[in-house]
Structures are given as structure tokens and as C-alpha cells.
């Protein structure tokens, strides 16, 4: 027997997946609606959303930076050459 998948009610895992996308503003209107419905009755989803928002806030704060990928590649190339010459 196959179960028909609901369009409106999603699983916890699906909710987490949408929540991740939402952190980057890449979830669709329909996905947001599905997430909100799940959010209303699932405490696990609520906890995940809260934790995920906190994580985004921390990671996207000004104090977290990375080196420019182009610059990193440039340094890597020079460094590998130096290593080979050694």
C-alpha cells in the first residue's frame, strides 16, 4: 500500500531542509507556507528554527570573515611552487 504524500503537511526532515533554505532567503512562498504549518504544531521544528536562526546570526556577524578565494588560490599556487623547489 502506498501512502499519498500531503502537499501541505511535511515531515520534520523536510521542514529542516526548508528552514535551511530560508536562512539564505531561497525558499519559495509555498515552502514557507509548509514550514509555517509544521512550525505551528511541531516542537522539534520550532527548536530547529530557533537554533538555525541563532546560527545564522552568529555566522553572518561581522567578526566572521574568510580570505578572498582568488587571493587564497594565488597564495596556494605560490606556496606549492615554493614547496616543490624545496
Amino acid at each position: 500500500m502506498t501512502t499519498k504524500k500531503s502537499k501541505l503537511f511535511i515531515s520534520c526532515e523536510e521542514a529542516k531542509y526548508i528552514c535551511d533554505k530560508s536562512q539564505y532567503h531561497e525558499s519559495t512562498f509555498w515552502e514557507k507556507l509548509q514550514l509555517n504549518i509544521r512550525y505551528a504544531y511541531c516542537h522539534i521544528t520550532r527548536a530547529y528554527v530557533k537554533q538555525n536562526q541563532k546560527l545564522s546570526e552568529l555566522v553572518q556577524s561581522d567578526s566572521v570573515t574568510c580570505m578572498d578565494p582568488k587571493k587564497k588560490a594565488e597564495i596556494k599556487m605560490k606556496f606549492i611552487n615554493e614547496l616543490q623547489d624545496k
Binding site: D20, Q51, V59, V64, D68, I80, L83, K86
Partner: protein, 184 residues
């Protein structure tokens, strides 16, 4: 036998971002920070025979970097009066604006906050080092450097679904790691 060994081939991939984050909070200039990190790697390679293996690779590289940062400030101080030390990420259109002037409430940021923010950056990079290299790279590009999904998918030859699975795994590991190290 020494506890730790050097593996210079992995230095750039493993430590460049951590060292850069460490430096930028101390020198406040992207170009200078990049140069200092680059010099650190080359100095580390030159003095690799001095590595005793008592500290980890990263700790050892940080000790070299600290000396580079001190040297940088010594050099600035020796040319005092000739150069103006600025504390902003200078862009042509904002040149002349001081960072302090652009902060909404300067009294809101006390020394404790500053230290906490500096440590936060390092704590996050610490946790990112625990992820598989590809996962960490994709997470950094997507979350910290704000690359487009499409650009990342093209670069790594993955589908958007793959990307979100990778991001989800990275976020879960990172959240657990920060729970243990940052929120404890």
C-alpha cells in the same frame, strides 16, 4: 616521537581562513591581513626544522603570525607622522570616513564585546575545521561569502539538492560544535 607533525601541503586549505580571521581583527585592513598570512606560511616553511612537535600546527603558525603582526605595528610606528593609521576597510567612495563615525551607537560596543566577537570568529573557524574540507568550503562560500547557489553548484559540479544536503549537514555539525564550545 613528537606529538604533532607538520603537513605544509594542507596549510592553506586548512588554516588560511582561521589565520585571516585572526589577523583582520588585529590589523583592520584586508590587504595587510592577506599579506601577513601569506608571509606566515612562507616563514613557517622556512623554519619548519625548528618545529618541535609540542604544539599543534595551527598554534605554531599562530605564534609566527603574532610576531608578524607585532613587526607590522613596529614598522607603522617607525614611520609615524608620515602615514595616517586608519581603522576602516577603506573603499574609494567612503574614504575619509572613520569607522567610529559609522557605528550607530559607539557606547554600545565595549571592550568585552570586541573580545567576544574576535573569539566568536575563531570559534566558528575552529568548528569549521572539524567538517570535511569540501563541506567546509561550500558552507563558507554560501554562508560567509554569500556566493550564489548556481555559482557554487557549477564550481563543484553538484545539483542544488546536493548543495542543500551539504549545507544542512554542515549547519547541524556546526550548531552542535558551537553548543559545546561557545554556548557552554
Amino acid at each position: 616521537m613528537p606529538k604533532h607533525q607538520l603537513n605544509p601541503k594542507k596549510w592553506i586549505d586548512s588554516y588560511a581562513d582561521y589565520l585571516f580571521n585572526y589577523t583582520i581583527t588585529r590589523v583592520n585592513d584586508k590587504d595587510i591581513a592577506e599579506d601577513l598570512v601569506q608571509e606566515t606560511f612562507f616563514s613557517g616553511l622556512k623554519s619548519a626544522q625548528n618545529f618541535k612537535g609540542e604544539a599543534s600546527e595551527r598554534t605554531w603558525l599562530i605564534s609566527i603570525l603574532k610576531r608578524k603582526i607585532i613587526d607590522h605595528y613596529r614598522k607603522i610606528n617607525s614611520t609615524k607622522g608620515k602615514a595616517e593609521v586608519r581603522v576602516n576597510f577603506s573603499e574609494s567612495d567612503t574614504e575619509g570616513d572613520w569607522l567610529e563615525e559609522r557605528v550607530a551607537d559607539p557606547f554600545d560596543k565595549n571592550a568585552e564585546n570586541e573580545i567576544e566577537n574576535t573569539e566568536l570568529g575563531l570559534a566558528i573557524h575552529n568548528c569549521l575545521e572539524k567538517l570535511p574540507q569540501k563541506q567546509a568550503d561550500i558552507f563558507k562560500k554560501k554562508t560567509i561569502q554569500n556566493f550564489d547557489t548556481e555559482a557554487i553548484c557549477n564550481e563543484y559540479n553538484i545539483t542544488p539538492s546536493n548543495l542543500w544536503v551539504i549545507i544542512h549537514r554542515a549547519r547541524t555539525t556546526l550548531a552542535n560544535c558551537l553548543d559545546e564550545t561557545w554556548f557552554k
